[in-house]
Symmetry: C3
Subunit: 398 residues, 3 copies
């Protein structure tokens, strides 16, 4: 057995994640530290195996269902890659082509698509109070279906972004941080600035800032959330961050100053998002079909936005970070000054300097998703990895 791979397997064997078996992945803060570490470990192991041309197909057949209620490039391809890596074929549930509009309930659809589904991946991030709930409805439905003998297996749900969290994104971000700093043990006391930044668009989901403070506060870091007044996120998630920080020996605080957040930061994550309160209003207007109200709200938000064009990740701000060299993060695509817009989230020269690390950051997502699936579907994931390594089937017959 290869030493590095044996290391991952030994690590897994030291962790307790047995509750993940037959489970689902909704929010990172519903998982224990061991479970989070198991995801990172399996993700690293799968990447290592693929790099070394060892097939990690655990399914001979089976479907991975994806449901995207918002446009997506990287998450769509990450999910497809993860399923394919494990041997599952992706089938996209395109609601426009389905009969969902014709009086079909969530419970019914969930069962009808799951006869041979081992995984369901859902992105539903547009309306406050909706996406996460929808995912739970789907899981409840397929659990009942499995118990009633309708489904031979209960598919596992992977949250590909909801109104509350974006776990596959934030876990990929975190794994990138861990590798950049040479291990989770080196993160104690490091300062990370999750800050709002200006974008000419508005209404971007809150799931990234929420997911980041909900996860990064677990590693003993100094987590600072910065945004202009009026751009508050969900208070429940701030509570999660506070408790996490306390437990991990780190800290969590808020500020209305980007400068304050960037000062001596080891990691910066500047990114636009919509105000939570406005998103709640929008959800409400949408529920009532009040399109005039939605248009009015849009105008109001754009006007509010326009007052904060100075919230931009500039070279000057970057200079104020630790040794002027903070790790710059973004979930992509970013609004880059003079590239995709006039004024945006980041200056082009900053973005360009961090292009390779940004792409590397994104490259962890397929492995994070595959790890979440593996941990839900295998009774003994460490044994599975060992068996795959023994089998040693080349992914690509060279």
């Amino acid at each position: 057995m290869d030493k590095k791979l044996q290391g991952y397997i030994d690590k897994l064997n030291s962790l307790n994640f047995k509750e993940m078996y037959e489970g689902d992945f909704f929010l990172t803060w519903e998982k224990t530290d061991d479970e989070i570490e198991a995801v990172f470990t399996v993700a690293d192991a799968l990447r290592y195996m693929r790099e070394n041309n060892i097939s990690t197909k655990v399914f001979e057949s089976g479907l991975g269902i994806s449901l995207f209620r918002d446009n997506s490039t990287r998450t769509r391809f990450s999910f497809a890659s993860a399923c394919n890596l494990l041997g599952l074929e992706v089938q996209d549930l395109d609601e426009g082509k389905s009969q969902i509009a014709h009086g079909e309930t969530v419970r019914e659809t969930a069962n009808m698509i799951s006869f041979m589904a081992d995984v369901i991946g859902i992105r539903d991030d547009m309306y406050i109070g909706k996406g996460n709930k929808y995912m739970h409805d789907v899981v409840d439905a397929v659990t009942q279906g499995h118990e009633a003998g309708v489904l031979e297996q209960k598919p596992t749900l992977v949250n590909l972004q909801c109104d509350i969290d974006h776990p596959t994104q934030c876990m990929a971000d975190m794994l990138h941080i861990i590798h950049t700093f040479g291990g989770a043990e080196n993160l104690k006391g490091k300062k990370i600035a999750m800050t709002w930044a200006y974008s000419p668009s508005y209404g971007k989901p809150l799931s990234v800032p929420q997911g980041v403070i909900g996860l990064m506060t677990r590693f003993g870091m100094e987590v600072v959330l910065a945004h202009p007044e009026g751009y508050e996120i969900m208070p429940e998630v701030e509570e999660v961050a506070k408790k996490n920080a306390e437990k991990s020996g780190g800290s969590f605080r808020k500020t209305n100053s980007m400068e304050d957040a960037f000062k001596d930061a080891d990691i910066v994550y500047p990114k636009s998002w919509a105000p939570f309160a406005a998103m709640e209003r929008r959800t409400d207007l949408y529920g009532r079909g009040d399109w005039d109200g939605i248009n009015a709200l849009e105008k109001e938000l754009l006007a509010q936005n326009a007052q904060h064009k100075d919230w931009c990740c500039t070279e000057e701000l970057m200079t104020s970070t630790k040794d002027g060299k903070a790790l710059y993060l973004h979930c992509l695509p970013a609004d880059i000054n003079g590239v995709s817009c006039e004024d945006g989230e980041v200056e082009a020269s900053v973005f360009d300097r961090y292009r390779d690390p940004l792409y590397k950051q994104a490259s962890y997502k397929p492995y994070i998703i595959a790890a979440m699936i593996l941990l839900a579907k295998q009774a003994d994931p460490a044994a599975t990895l060992e068996a795959l390594a023994q089998k040693n089937t080349p992914r690509h017959m060279k």
Copy 2:
């Protein structure tokens, strides 16, 4: 060899279905009783093998082409599941993205998509006299292409719903009935009511009621077709039902009373459909591009429909069935009173009570489709199942 699996193989070896090899599946009444039984047997065997984690991949590579000319959730996913179960990758022919509109003939398209296709599944149910004919055109084209050396293999066609029959639906329905009643041998004399029911929409395909009476009359059952005057189905299919009933020792009759049909019924299948004569008119109007005529017809049909809101599967009606416990069937999605519409095909409490069996009913469809494919592609399906069982590759490496 597992005893249950051996039972399926022995059963297959007692049946004559050799004409199915290299064939296609258009209408159930074009198949012999042995052939129908072979489909059920292979479907049961495939399900049993999947439940017992035995891979049933007979293809290392190959495509399953789907062409849906109408929205679909369950049939789309059932077809995808069936192909995947056998090792075929689904490729959807989305006519909007193809060049079919640009002067390409059916004959040409059929060959162009079939270079590596082992299966073609088509849903084309909107226009009377069109769908089934289109499927035959496709089969003729690929047969010629295969004979001319263009195609290395002749793909098998699976009718995923045409204007005449919906064989994958009705075969799944029937297999559900067989298992519910403990075997086909227990169905003699059982009463099944295929009845029209009110829906606020109109113009639903006739293929389900037609397929049901065309298939269920082969099992010695008392088959009653009920609908308001004016909602006649294709007379040719009624002829099929009559002959089937005669041959099987069952009966087939029509009534204009839902009460009459439900009385002492063992099985009820209340479902909306459009009048055949109106569908013929619509096909004609459509052919002439007469959109005003189509709109006028739509109004007329909705008005006609509205006179029959009392055709609903109520608790009261259910009480009148055998022991008040008839098996309730629906192809889904159903129009449920107070759920998907004000007045519909069925009361919510009835639907809810039968939810699990309804989902189970639907769950047979992927296996029925896979069985149809296997019987068309394997020279000796019993030997194939035996070889798969011997090989015993886990579907999911646990």
Copy 3:
């Protein structure tokens, strides 16, 4: 080892194509004669193996990404078939469903979709000076991504049609010619007429006539390009054709007479295309968003087109070819008189007589694409074919 297969392997071992490893396929004239012959040889070998039920899966997992910026049936299915034949799952990058419109650069998207991509196939043929450039941008991006450690592998690009060449089409056409004439060695001195033909539409890509003269001039043939005045193609490609002809001992000339081109021709390829100069103007108008200008140009082009309805492949013209039996080629779909239009590129009786050979011509495309992929991904393709033959896994377990 089967003799025929051994012949292909021996042939490969006699050719020098080592530069193709880890490379891409943009234009046929960027490849050496040995490389072109290697593609034909691998394509023949793969077809032979499939016909003899030998699996050619070299990938256990991996994605083949397709990006179609124009409608497509046969190329779409050919690419899907080729990927599937080698074990890759197709994922379509549907730009409408992606975030490309939201400020994402080509460089970014190319990396984001490629984490587990072994192949990228692109069709981008609408605008002069754009498609081929776009493909190079994608290749540059993934090459950088691979070097930066973002991508574990560099996906190979297959040009599925650009503004300059349509290599998978023309290579399939050529392989069809080679087999029809019993070998490339029999083509010296044969006359091939690549001629314009009238179509009621306008603006068809120039990539086919350009690709044909760029490739066919390499085999010692007499290549004649015929079109009405004003329908010139890219002058750079004419230069390529001239040099090729000189080197191969064949000839290349232009004429404004269809009769002249058809006279004693062994092969005819009559097909509509847009004038190069007009396409340049359209690209320019499009770039400036001048929709009025585009409409005016369209009218002008249709009027110009209408003057050349006599450019049709008639029975009379066919009679003037070598023994009246020239091989008729088309990339399909063709505009057929009285079938898809009143006046078109070819008379129905001519098209009908050549239907089987035309479909056969098209049937080489999946194998050409698969060969291009195999030659880019395998360090020693001959050894790969040998290993697959030894392994002898059935494609279809019969």
